[in-house]
């Protein structure tokens, strides 16, 4: 019986086959979409002239500014959202919202019709290359789990849309409007991050919309250099620049812009730096905009260090490893050679690597200097300390020992911005997103004063509004 023709065929056909695991499916899907976007980008680059970059300044042509806080203008925005509401503004605003380009906004950031989001609204709508939504919201297919829209008419081929992948961003909730009579004092935490700007620029240059939660307005403002006047001497390390001007999109309100310029640490005065590079070399870093860019970025940083500064390198992938013990920057050759040897491969074990990096930084701790771990990754910490909470607590504990953390994000598709931000905040550091070499230069060289060599920490600003003048 067993050798009958059809029986054999049936038995083979009936052999049980397991189902793929959902994680593997998700991973495969991400890989496919990443490749799709990469090819799309390549094609666009082939097919068109270089996209004009909003920050196309040559690094040489611009003075090296050491800034403490770009948060300044961010504050200004919080300021309007939080406090400055001129009488009769409310009516006007509601009108503006209903007649305004609300549909545009849906693509960029969800806007509830709340008092605070209205002033932000037009600003967002002005994001230059945002294509209009292709269809009214209610026509969205319920079957589609994606955030994309598509249209029924045959028309032109659909616009390339951002596949969100596993880039994760924390949800943004706009601050509510405050009434100054009840709360005249507003407190803001100063924040020097700029990651959001670079991420958004990258998406727009590639011809698709960024995720709405990737758009953090204060970072759009922090990104740029405002050339504020410097503090006059060391006794006043900060110098505020306050301006009030009419809101361009709403004549009923005024904008308050508080810029704060920190002391410019000149090169000679710069404290000694004890840096530990913690580099993700997992398999996913194997893309031109990841590991090779990372290597070039750090090479650039190493070139600018003083001879007394030290650098150590820890990598993490399948297993964490120290590939360079703390080495003086005067031995530049050794550091660069170690960077050169980096190869991508294996899965990510961020947790184990982070412990080793901190241990090295503590070993070589300089109470007078800057002690900092610089983590460079494309996102996930999928092995090692599994619990992000635990990782955050670890970083926070270590911050008390004087070792701070900066996080640099690379690449797209897997970026865990939320965790990056949290780690940087808990580690008393900052987070930046590196999409190009000039961005790396901006973050690691030109602005090292604001990001790596800090003159202050945990800065908070309080603004007191006079309820008599301001509602």
């Amino acid at each position: 019986m067993t050798d009958s023709k059809d029986d054999l065929k049936r038995r083979i056909a009936d052999l049980p086959v397991p189902e793929p695991r959902p994680e593997a499916r998700g991973k495969a899907r991400d890989a496919v979409m990443t490749e799709f976007r990469r090819l799309g980008r390549e094609e666009r680059i082939k097919g068109m002239a270089r996209v004009a970059r909003p920050t196309g300044k040559t690094p040489e042509g611009r003075p090296v500014m050491r800034k403490l806080a770009y948060a300044t203008a961010g504050l200004a925005f919080c300021g309007i959202a939080a406090a400055i509401v001129i009488p009769n503004f409310l009516n006007f605003r509601l009108k503006a919202t209903s007649s305004g380009s609300r549909s545009n906004l849906d693509n960029i950031r969800s806007t509830e019709v709340t008092t605070s989001s209205a002033p932000l609204a037009d600003f967002e709508a002005a994001v230059p290359t945002a294509p209009p939504p292709r269809m009214a919201k209610k026509a969205k297919s319920p079957a589609s789990k994606q955030r994309m829209r598509y249209s029924n008419e045959p028309g032109p081929p659909p616009l390339p849309q951002e596949y969100v992948g596993r880039d994760r961003f924390e949800k943004i909730t706009p601050n509510p409007v405050k009434v100054t009579a009840e709360e005249p004092v507003s407190t803001f935490s100063v924040d020097v991050d700029t990651a959001s700007y670079a991420f958004v620029r990258r998406a727009l240059n590639a011809g698709h919309l960024p995720q709405k939660n990737a758009v953090r307005i204060e970072e759009m403002i922090n990104y740029f250099d405002y050339d504020y006047p410097l503090p006059s001497d060391r006794s006043a390390p900060f110098r505020p620049t306050v301006t009030i001007f009419p809101t361009p999109w709403n004549r009923g309100t005024k904008l308050l812009h508080v810029g704060i310029k920190g002391l410019d640490i000149t090169r000679a005065e710069r404290p000694r730096a004890n840096l530990v590079f913690l580099l993700d070399v997992s398999g996913s870093m194997n893309a031109t905009d990841k590991l090779p860019l990372l290597k070039n970025s750090f090479r650039m940083l190493v070139e600018t260090l003083d001879p007394e500064d030290t650098v150590a390198i820890v990598v993490y992938a399948g297993a964490a490893g120290t590939i360079l013990e703390p080495t003086k920057a005067s031995e530049r050759g050794r550091i660069l050679a170690a960077l050169e040897r980096l190869r991508a491969g294996g899965s990510t074990a961020g947790g184990a690597g982070i412990r080793r990096a901190y241990a090295l930084a503590e070993e070589n701790f300089d109470p007078e200097g800057v002690n900092r771990v610089i983590l460079a990754t494309d996102g996930d910490f999928n092995v090692g300390i599994r619990n992000p909470e635990e990782l955050k607590n670890f970083v926070e504990r270590k911050r008390k020992s004087g070792v701070y953390l900066s996080v640099l994000g690379f690449g797209q598709g897997n970026l865990n911005d939320e965790l990056m931000q949290k780690l940087a905040q808990n580690g008393n550091g900052n987070a930046a997103y590196i999409d190009t070499l000039s961005e790396a230069r901006k973050v690691l060289v030109d602005e090292a004063g604001g990001t790596l060599f800090t003159i202050a920490k945990d800065v908070k600003i309080q603004v007191e509004f006079n309820p008599a003048d301001l509602a």
């Binding site: 067993t2 050798d3 023709k5 054999l8 065929k9 038995r11 083979i12 056909a13 052999l15 049980p16 086959v17 397991p18 189902e19 793929p20 695991r21 593997a24 499916r25 991973k27 495969a28 899907r29 890989a31 496919v32 979409m33 490749e35 799709f36 976007r37 090819l39 799309g40 297919s141 079957a143 589609s144 994606q146 994309m148 598509y150 249209s151 029924n152 081929p157 659909p158 616009l159 390339p160 849309q161 951002e162 596949y163």
Partner: protein
């Protein structure tokens, strides 16, 4: 109302070619399981099958431009999958023990796949493994995937007669293997 799920594979390919990520997503969702199963049948190792399936789709993205509308999408996808699996096997050399891996599958990933006569099916699998690569491919497509010899010949890029011959040889071999064993 427009549903992307109503589009044929070829229409989805067209859309994906003009930059529509969602169309590509649909193609992926529609065929991933099928490709995974093919890969698993080929190598019998869960991790490897997942790798092969992923690689197959990445290759598909790269080859989107070369797809000819007159050929069948399925045939095309199968061809990519079979080639990927073959290359993978070549690269990764010896396969891990099928039984071991399968037991793991039964207890772990896939508890609900129904009762299986462990000995008989693992014996059959062993027999399939013992086939030369070309015969195994033919058996996989014709027996497991239920293709005609003609369809299989298109996937494998050989003549229909060659497929029939391979199937014939494979049958004889399997029969001998199974009889000798029991």
């Amino acid at each position: 109302m427009f549903w992307m799920t109503d589009l044929s594979d070829v229409e989805l390919v067209d859309r994906a070619r003009s930059g529509d990520a969602e169309a590509l997503g649909h193609l992926f969702e529609r065929h991933y399981t099928m490709v995974f199963r093919l890969a698993w049948r080929w190598c019998g190792v869960h991790d490897d099958a997942e790798d092969i399936a992923q690689e197959t789709f990445v290759k598909l993205v790269r080859k989107l431009k070369t797809f000819r509308r007159r050929s069948s999408f399925k045939t095309w996808l199968y061809r990519i999958a079979v080639n990927t699996a073959r290359d993978y096997g070549r690269r990764h050399g010896a396969r891990r023990s099928r039984e071991e891996e399968y037991d793991e599958d039964q207890s772990g990933h896939n508890p609900g796949s129904g009762p299986v006569d462990g000995t008989a099916s693992s014996r059959l699998r062993e027999a399939l493994d013992s086939l030369p690569v070309a015969q195994r491919e033919a058996v996989l497509l014709v027996f497991s995937e239920g293709m005609s010899h003609r369809e299989a010949s298109l996937v494998l890029g050989c003549g229909e007669v060659t497929v029939s011959w391979r199937i014939f040889r494979a049958r004889a071999r399997l029969k001998t293997f199974l009889e000798r064993g029991t």
